[in-house]
């Protein structure tokens, strides 16, 4: 599992590392997310929070993630994000691609949403 993840991480290494690096943690992306607005402006719905705590964590651990970690990530990248691709970043970071990569990695490890259950 780890090897497979590391392979795909390597493929997107340059873009993801750069995006994670330049993010100034300014939180200006918050209001562009309708999920954030809809959930009483709860900061856990901020686009930056979502990518830092999904793909950011995976890169920090260099792909050495266990199933439990991915399971914990699942609500962040599926329930809290619908991938509408409308996130605004003042610096121009491509946030949707980061969430989507996190989802791809989860899917490869067999962690994905079941739409007939409430998770």
């Amino acid at each position: 599992m780890t090897e497979m993840i590391q392979e795909i991480l390597k493929e997107y290494n340059a873009k993801m590392k750069l995006s994670l690096k330049v993010c100034a943690h300014c939180s200006l992306c918050a209001e562009s997310c309708f999920m954030f607005i809809k959930n009483n402006k709860n900061p856990i719905y901020m686009p930056s929070y979502k990518f830092i705590n999904s793909i950011g964590k995976i890169y920090k651990k260099k792909g050495n993630v266990d199933l439990k970690m991915l399971e914990d990530m699942k609500p962040i990248i599926w329930k809290n994000c619908v991938l509408c691709t409308r996130c605004y970043c003042p610096l121009g970071i491509d946030i949707p691609s980061m969430i989507s990569l996190a989802r791809t990695i989860c899917r490869m490890s067999g962690v994905y949403p079941q739409y007939n259950e409430i998770y």
Binding site: I8, L83, T85, P96, T104, R107, Y112, P113, Y115, N116
Partner: protein
Amino acid sequence: MVKSKQKPLAEIKDLLKSYSSILNVGCGGCASVCLAGGQREVIALNNELSLLFKQEGLDKKIDGYTVERQCNVDFFQGLSDERIKKYDCIISMACGAGVQFLAEAFKSKPVFPALNTVSIGIDKDIGLYEERCRACGECVLAYTGGICPVTRCAKGLFNGPCGGTNRGKCEIGNEYPCAWYEIYERLKEQNRLQDIKKIQPAMLWKNQVLRVTIQEPYQERYKMY
């Protein structure tokens, strides 16, 4: 969202009979939400097909992979040309748009649909969906009290009701409600019956040609005519 339904297994099996190495590509978008073509359904279909092939003594390899969305090339992560090269054909568990886009992206491989795209609909309950829109491109809901005559009227009439309306039911069968009766009732309730008298011009059936949507801020970019 777009609602779809899996094709009969026999039909899918028939499509694959001359290929030995198959990739089943799921879609994490609408097809996944309506429980027709997500990752779980990809695994389920693959299991069923492998069992079927085994029973018939056929030596076929079938793999599964689910992308986040098949209607946007940005989400084809992990579907590299190299990966595709290993397979003889692809089956797509997405709506018609996804199947076509996959076929467009990998022109050298045959791409088969595993789903029938049914409608743009609403979720009545888990696994139960109902059509609400046929994407005709000429929305008249403003005059019809929010009831769509194209999807709900058997004749798809823009001006109704017709002579076949029968005490709130449709002439095609007593179990079908008459859409135009419902429209009348709703407009009456909202006190705007004058709307039903407005004659809507006949549909130009523009959906006979490829409809392209360009949003206002991007008009300039794609200006070419």
